[in-house]
Subunit: 346 residues, 4 copies
């Protein structure tokens, strides 16, 4: 049984980690660390947690952490993990960073897109990008995981097989992302105010979303040549769920059936990706509150394009669930441990 700490205890990422850890048999939650609300009971803020967590939230104390936890999740805003992880040097704590601090290989790219000072290049290089299905071997060796963003998880799982199988060209990729509102976090803003978000679709951060360089970096790594994408994001009136609808130019003649077979073979040993049969497209609710990524594919002969839709729960496979999946891999536990649950439906 490993001891677990969570930093950033009152955000949605932390809350979802707490929910998922509750049924995990190899990890026990020891410490919830909150900068702003230490000393408080988390159930005072989140009454749904009543009777589940005994200890109040705590202040960050690096030295005692080293003795008390084996695994540390960073469910923190941008800029925190990069400060704390170096202070843990010398310990054997496994660090999983759910923020974007360590996702971009280039510090200057980070600074351009995030508008913040980047982590030291050395730290970035030490972190492994935790896209579990694509980099399982590296993850097994890692001590620091940079957990992928929600849109990149959906987009990369949807596109990488097509690139790998040379189904699509590297140029002309379009990714139209749509997400539920929980991805915007817990701080109330005009953007997430119920009366203006309900019964509304809002395109946002067009051309400016920090997930653009993250997607491009890993597509480029896959294709081994520079890929740029047209990527947009839309806020949709629902709490959980995310879909990327993706469009690629066909590189050769093929059929929906053939591409589906290629995808199914690509994900054969990856239980959390489910590829739909011809004629069926996934909806976000098909993966609600679960760690699944469901993928639908249509080869559009008329426009010589492939259309791929990839759905996840942004808080699970797009954050806390994938983080636990990575910890499972890092520790040699069954990859699905604690995550093999049926989506909540309806």
């Amino acid at each position: 049984m490993k001891n677990v700490g969570i930093i950033g205890g009152t955000g949605y990422g932390a809350i979802e980690l707490i929910r998922l850890l509750q049924t995990h048999e190899h990890m026990q939650l020891k410490k919830i660390i909150s900068h702003s609300q230490h000393g408080e009971q988390i159930a005072a803020i989140y009454p749904h947690l009543t009777d589940f967590i005994e200890d109040p939230m705590q202040e960050l104390q690096i030295e005692s952490l080293k003795d008390e936890v084996d695994i540390l999740f960073f469910a923190t805003p941008a800029g925190i993990a990069k400060e704390i992880i170096p202070q843990l040097a010398g310990s054997t704590i496994q660090c999983i960073d759910l923020s974007g601090d360590l996702r971009l290989g280039s510090p200057s790219e980070y600074e351009y897109w995030y508008g913040k000072k980047a982590a030291p290049k050395q730290l970035i290089d030490k972190a492994v990008y935790g896209l579990s299905e694509i980099y399982p071997e590296q993850i097994k060796q890692a001590t620091i995981i940079s957990n992928p963003g929600c849109f990149p998880t959906s987009a990369l799982l949807g596109l990488i097989p097509a690139l790998e199988k040379k189904v699509i060209l590297e140029s002309g990729i379009v990714i139209d992302g749509k997400t539920g509102v929980s991805g915007a976090g817990r701080t109330p803003t005009a953007m997430t105010h119920y009366s203006e978000t309900n019964e509304n679709i809002k395109p946002y951060k067009i051309g400016k979303h920090q997930h653009i360089p993250e997607i491009e970096q890993y597509l480029t790594a896959q294709a081994k040549e520079p890929i740029t994408v047209a990527f947009t994001t839309h806020l949709v009136p629902m709490t959980r769920g995310l879909i990327c609808t993706m469009y690629g130019q066909l590189a050769k003649e093929t059929s929906t059936e053939e591409v589906i077979k290629q995808y199914q073979s690509f994900y054969e040993n990856h239980p959390f990706v489910r590829v739909r049969e011809e004629g069926s497209f996934p909806t976000t609710k098909d993966v609600y509150a679960s760690n699944y990524c469901d993928i639908g594919i249509h080869v559009d002969q008329r426009s010589n394009r492939i259309i791929i839709a990839s759905v996840i729960d942004n808080l699970v496979k797009g954050a806390a669930g994938q983080a636990i999946q990575n910890v499972n891999l890092m520790n040699g536990w069954e990859e699905t441990h604690g995550l093999h649950t049926i989506p909540v439906y309806p």
Copy 2:
């Protein structure tokens, strides 16, 4: 490990049973029986179940059932369970009826409210009303459980302690119920059509709801004198969740604090009922996808009334979850087995 069958395999009650049984260590799902869609894979209807259920749904065959299952859940429309249960006589199958067939003690009451022929009185009398926190001892001895309705579960758990502790008078009880749309089941109707249900609150079945006599019957049993209630139901634009806001006349001088203490003591050994501290009221999302019933209380000195709000997830504590809780009790397993999970939030 007990073998389980579900009859009525394509409704929401069945789907939720399947979800909850997936992590239950003493039950394994052997058979999903569907009258209308036997022979089909359930994942063809509910893609979120992909990779979870191997066998296709089956037709009902009484004789083979007797050999194959130990526990049988009826997630069926009104009128089915009362026909099938008698045919299982002689077997040791534990029957849990999620429909209303066996809930009303009086066949004539049933016929008045349900507009259908009642079950034989003998069958009704053999069934135990599965309100787990109130009738645990009877449930432990039962072989047939009549699982409570969603509104009655919420209302009775909210009112019975106040009656038992003589906090409120028997007369003048008002229950204002509000439910998410999943309670109306899976058949598309004008009532549940998205465009007319969204951004709308609909009072429905005013004065005619079949949960009225169910609530009155068990309140009357508790008070040992006839109780009638004013009860209304409202459809609210959300999928899951149910709240009863209840109003009773104070029988004596008391305070919010005192009544809360009485409730907390009443539910001391019942982990699925959480009574809130003074000043805090539960919201339906606090119990989303979980088996909890959260209760808030306010003694309104000005109007000499008590206000009690009781929230549940209509598909869990109001249906499938309580059904499993009852099976846990019947078999001497831990009451919370398979149900001790944190609500999905947000």
Copy 3:
């Protein structure tokens, strides 16, 4: 053509006034006054208003106001109207206060429920309570209108005929209120954060809502003896719409049909109240974006109670629409002018 000003230009009340005034032929909007954002174009904040408003918002300047506007709407938070209206003394400006400043006759009651200093008693006494269907004659004579709250509008229109016709007793009235989120205004808060409000029903301000004394004051005035009510409010996941479900003890033997006739007769000359036939209950969407109040009635013989449901759009009949209806009455225009529009459905 009268000139109109609105103070509090960026709240939802103001926005709805602007929408409704656009098609009003006897009023033209001259000035939008905003304390916090004067100098800005309102369409920069509310892009849906693009091309409708030319002038930027302005700072409040009492003296110039007197020359420029004939009618002034206060769509302001509590505490503002009571400061400004006295400064307009001597002018002939008609003042319509949509806030609660002048609704309670007793300054000490105001201070208890609002937690703020009350308006001078003299000012309170000069204001007429603008419940258009109940006090039309007083409104016609008024220069200062205290526009009713959203819940009181729904509750009073639903209950006053029953009291007036002696259908119900004065004691034992229960009002269960449910509202869309726009009633909470435009400031983002945890209470109105999409991810926590969606798919959720939240009881709030139980026992503490400032509409309690407002409802009681006008019921008491009607009954000519003190009435207290048990009143609760619930936030429901929708933007617009409000329903009060009300329960009263029958004062005499009667029938649903008979009471409906009494209500229809009571509202015969009041086009904005529509009383439903027996067996039909209104839903909030039936009055969406319109000035209607629809009422459904059921006499529940079993519990000796009457059940009344009264629905409005909280921003129209519950705020801006009723304000314009009052101005129509004050100026001798057709009561329905600018408001005789079909609800937006679906």
Copy 4:
């Protein structure tokens, strides 16, 4: 004052026509014709219409129609208008077909995409495609209007200026459409069942949507060479509102600012299209219940693409509103008559 009839009286298109006609000063609604429910009061089906419509719905009688109405709206399912319009030959009735019967120039294309027998080619040729901003001169001369589909309205208004100004290439256009559920009509189906549509995004009819050939036909007409597009549609959990997010390959070097200027100039005399300034993108709620089409533009230098978002209310500019706009044009009335109203917000 012209007399108006509506065929297909109980669908959402008809309901929205009724709402908009209520304030139109040159048209009065004479006849609502319903095949399935003639003889009934429309308010019995749609209580929000109580007090607005006196006469019951009527059966279709061609001969009397000719005497009684000047303008006839077909808010009918596919296949009806093409049967009825020829029977009106010889009359001067202006026919506006809101269905897809007359939208595709090629009968064989129609039969492929709609799976129904096409209208006679002669009838198709007589109808003018009622995209008001693009074909105003032809509309002014027309007696038969084929009113555009909801997605084509949004997509064509968003793309045509870019093609016309040679901003984008003809090849490689991607259109990602998202719509509220009212576009699916009033018949309850599994697709529009609340519990499965709420908190969900559903891609649907991928590669098979009948709006694909409609969009391609008019883009092709504009570009004067064959254009194919990759077009997808998604059902989003809201009632009204539609957005097309569109991606085109830049044909030349340009900037966001420059393209916005070109669009603003293109739509200079078209009050219902509002082009946003740089950095601002429209949301569907910005045009709720109104006839506006709001457009946002971003030139994405990185991917050498332009991103255009175009939002409408699918029932207004995407159906009933544009139909009335076309009638205004046909009759020489002010184009905005009866439609110059502020969107309902929030």
